[in-house]
Structures are given as C-alpha cells and as structure tokens.
Amino acid sequence: MKETEIENSTEEFEHLLEGKENEIYVLRLYVTGMTPKSTKAVLNIKKICEENLKGRYELEVIDIYQQPVLAKDEQIIAAPTLIKKIPLPLRKLIGDMSDKERILLGLDLKQK
C-alpha cells in the first residue's frame, strides 16, 4: 500500500470524527424512583455528558413508576436504562452507568 493512500484515509477518518463532534445527542434516562441505582445512574451520566458532550446534548430523566406506559412503548426491561435516541443507531445502555468505558463505547464516543 502506498504511503499517500494511507495518509488520505487517515485524513478522511479525522474528518468524519470532526463531523461527529458536532452531532447533537438526545438521551433519555429511565429510572425507577429514587433507588440508589437510579440516583447513582443520574449522577454518573450527567458527569459523563458534561465531560464529553458539553453543550450538545439533551438529557431527560424519566421515572417509569410515574409513567409505566412509557416502559412498554420504549421497550424498557431493565432499570436504569439510558436510551440514545439520536444519533442513530438507537442504543440502550442499562445499569447504574458506572462503567465509563462501556458508556463511551455505547454512545459511539470511543472506538473499540
């Protein structure tokens, strides 16, 4: 493979990454009342968003105890569940959001 081609592809990749950096994130966090897991998850995801998506994210925290119908509509099984609605593809992150690496992977903020 020629040197120039590799350079080109790297450029392209960086360009793509730049584009991603401007993407708006719409996130929904479904929790179950004020359980320790719920509060932990809220705190964790807020921190991660502030660190990685500052100024370009929209995070809504929903208590499914209050709105059980949403649990059916959004196919929620586990709690807490974070749904990445935008950008696509849709992804569900379940747990108390303590595994930062996996969250960044799940939000496409980090490549494997």
Binding site: Y30, T35, Q75, I77, L90, I94, D96, R102, G106
Partner: protein, 572 residues
Amino acid sequence: MVKAINNVESPEELQKCQTGIRGLDEITDGGLPKGRPTLVCGSAGCGKTLLAMEFLVRGAAQYNEPGVFVSFEESSEELVQNVASLGFDLNGLIAHKKMYLDQVRIERSEIEETGEYDLEGLFIRLNHAIDSIGANRVVLDTIESLYSGLANEGILRAELRRLFRWLKEKGVTAIVTGERGENTLTRHGLEEYVSDCVILLDNRVEGQISTRRLRIVKYRGSSHGTNEYPFLIDEQGISVLPITSLGLQHDVSTERISSGIPRLDIMLEGDGYYRGSSILISGTAGTGKSSIAATFANATCSRGERCLYFAFEESASQIIRNMHSIGIGLQPWLEQGLLSIHAVRPTVYGLEMHLVKMYKLINEFKPEVVIMDPVTNLISIGSETEVKSMLSRLIDFLKASHITALFTNLSHAGGAVSLEQTEFGISSLMDTWILLRDIELGGERNRGLYILKSRGMAHSNQIREFLLTDRGIDLVDVYAGPGGVLTGSARSAQEAQEKAAELVRRDETGRKKRELDRKKKALEVQITALRSEFEAVEEETNKLIQQEEIKEKVLAADRAGMMRLRKADADS
C-alpha cells in the same frame, strides 16, 4: 399416600384455576394451582405458546378472568394472526379489556451493560398490564429469551426469582414457558424457581409418525395423572385426552339391540347384542365382515339412532356403493345425518392421535353405535401392546358412554395364527365374538358363521351358512347329517335328494290309499246288490202268504155253501 391426603384437614386446600382446555383440567384434577406460576416446558414447536394462549383466551371467554400475555418472541400482530386460525378472536378480547398483549423485545446488539441493574422495567410493565385490565391470569412466553438478551446471569437469576415471588404476591395464576434443555427440563433451569406445577410437552416421532404428548412432571399439593397423555391441536385449540383404563366400573345395560340380521338375533337368544357391549367380527378376507358391519349400521339408523363408522380401508363412497349391491342403502342415513363415515388411512397419524381423533369425533357426533372396520389395520402403525392398550382404552371409553362398538378383525388363513386367535389378543376385551370362516367343500367356498362367545347370554352353538343376497345378509342352516356338515351347492344337492325321496314316499302312500278306496267302493256295491236281492225275496214271501190266506178264505166259503146245500145238522 392416599390415606395421608384423606387425613389432612386443611382449611386452606389448594385452590385450582380451571384452564378450560379440554382434558387438561381432568388430569390436573381441576386446573392449575390458583395464584401460582406453572412452568410449561418443551422443545420448539410442541405447542407451548398455544397452550398458554388458550389458557388466557378460555379464561377470558369462559371464566371471566382477564389475562395478560407477555411475549418475548412473537410480536402482538403475529400472535393475533397465529391464534386467529384456531378461532380465537384476540383483537375482540383486547377491545373488551379481557386481554392485554405486550411484546418484550430485547436486541443484544442494542444493549450495553454499564453496571448494576435490575429488571424493574419488566416488573413495571407487567404490573401496569395486570392492573389496567384487572388480570387474574398471566403468561410469560418464553421468559428464557432474557438470557439471550442480557449477559449478566447473576442478575437474571436473582431477578427471575424475585419475579416469580412477585407474581405469587400479586395473586395471579401464571404460565411461564421454557425451552427444553439437554438434560434438564428447561435450558436455563427455570424449574428451580417454579416449583408448584411443571407440565412437559413433547412431540416425538416414531416410525415417521409424530405424536404430541403432555405430562405433568410435578404438581405440588395435588393429585394428578402421571401418564403421558396425547394431545391434539386442531381448529378448536388443544385437546388433551385423559383416556386411560380407569377401571371397570361402568354400569351395564340389559337392553338389547338388533344386529340387523334376524337369524343372527335368534342365535343371540333372539334379541341381538347387548347395548353398550363390544362386538368383534373376525374372519379372513372376503368372508363378509364389512357386510355384517354395514348391516348393523343400517339397522342402527333404521331405529333412528346414530352410527359412527370408522373405515380404514375403503372410502365412504366405496362402502356405500358396495353395500348397495347387497341391498343395504346407506346413502339416506348419511343425508339424514344419522350415519357418519370417517375414512382415513391408519398411517395418516399415530395411534394415540387416532385415539384422540376418535374420542373427539365420538364426543361430537354422540353416536349410539361405533364401527371400526377393520381394526387390524392399526397394527401397521403401532406395536401389538400399543394397539391393545389403545383399544382397551377406547373400549373402556365407549362402554362408559354406553356406546355399542363393533370391530372387525381380519385374520390370515393358513398362517401360523389360527382363526380363533386375534392378532393383538383383543378378543378378551370383547363381549361378543362372531367368527366368519370359509368352508371349502366340493370345489367351492362358502361362508360359515358361528358365535364363538357372547357374554351374558345363552347363544347358539350352531354353524350357520352365511349368504350375501341382493336383499342383504341371510343366514341358513347348514346341512348336518350322516355325511357331515354340508354347505353351498353340496347342501342344496343333499336337500334336493331328500326332497325327491320324500316325493317318492308320498306317491306310494297315495297309491295305497287309492287302492283301498277302490276296494271299499267295490264292497259297497256288493252290499247294495245283496240288499236289493234280500228285499226282492222278502216281497216274494209276503206275496205268497197273502195268496195262501185268500185261498183259505175261499175254501172256507165253499165249505159253508156245500153244507147249506146238504142241509146237514148244524150240530153234527
């Protein structure tokens, strides 16, 4: 064990929740444990989802118990479509708030696990579903799909345990389905959590014929049937058949019904078969078994009773045509709905399935008489013991329902098995056994009929010759004389000879009588002649006497005249 159950005086006896599924409530002794989860497990395609769905649909429609169906596999639309073919109107039930469908979709690729979690989302959905229609029944189908969607088995186990406890607290009767594992009932050991009632479904293929079976593996706190019961999925859903040899406690009838052949009735004490008895007609090919069966069917329908005819060899139209040729018209009975012919090849499905089908048809048609022609053909799909067990269950069921059953049995002449032996030893199950056999004599084959046994009646021990005429079946006496038993033309010849001899004898007597008559007449003539001679002589004699008297008178007159002339003394 039984004693222990009887002694328990528990005020809180286990309450049952009727499923409404035909047969299942009988083998579970009243239904599933109320307010508890039941595990239904089995391999793919054995009817788990359908059983669970029917439990809900029947609950909603028959017992006014609304139900929630949580599907982890099929979408709501698919479910509605799938069960619509079985006559269940899910959309209608949903509209009337009798049913709630929820599909739980888990895509592993969509999910990233980021720490501690629980399944509270599922609990909330379930709770919402139950409360929104006031459900008494819940189905989770197949909850094991969670294992493929979620990686953390530790959490799953704990949450499932919590789920089943929660369902119990909620007081709903639940069915949880699970896929069969290699050596375990379910792949992920659901039986660990659901310990009240476990039902195993199975779909086995033996000799290229598959049969669905159901078994209750355990049922805590309740008696239940322990056998494997065949079940059937048809247009009306599932029917489980608890057909077992339950015992011999059926009450019997003393009523008699005609066999349709007057002479045969006479052989059976003059009244025919007992109602509710089982009759076996056995014989080699072409001895007229089907004809006897059809005659019986005809007689049954003539009485205005119903007859269900299972044909394993001929089609319905063939039977009708053939029987028409011997003067038995079955067509009108078919049209009047008194006769129903079910022609099916034995190999269409397994033995148990035949039993299930028959059971169902009998329950639907409610016949007074059932005919199976020939029962021998079932051997092609089962072993001897299987066929015997199946037939004994069928006969028990028929007897309990007071249905008279006639079976035909094809025996093979010249084989190792003698005629007086049925292939599967079913003769012991039969009350009346009629044997048809060929009698070969003088270069021709004739049919002979005799009654081998007939329980509870003094039957004839005679062989009758059996004739198929265009007016039906006729039984005639065989010739039993010094020359042995004669049938057919030999019998006719013998009879003709005897008739001739009789004629000769009769002639002789006539001749003698006529001769005597003649003699008598001759004597009478003589008597008349003598009498007239006698009369003539008598007349002559009288005449002579008269003449003499006249002469005397004349002589006396003359003497007096002379005396007067002589003037003689009067005193001298």
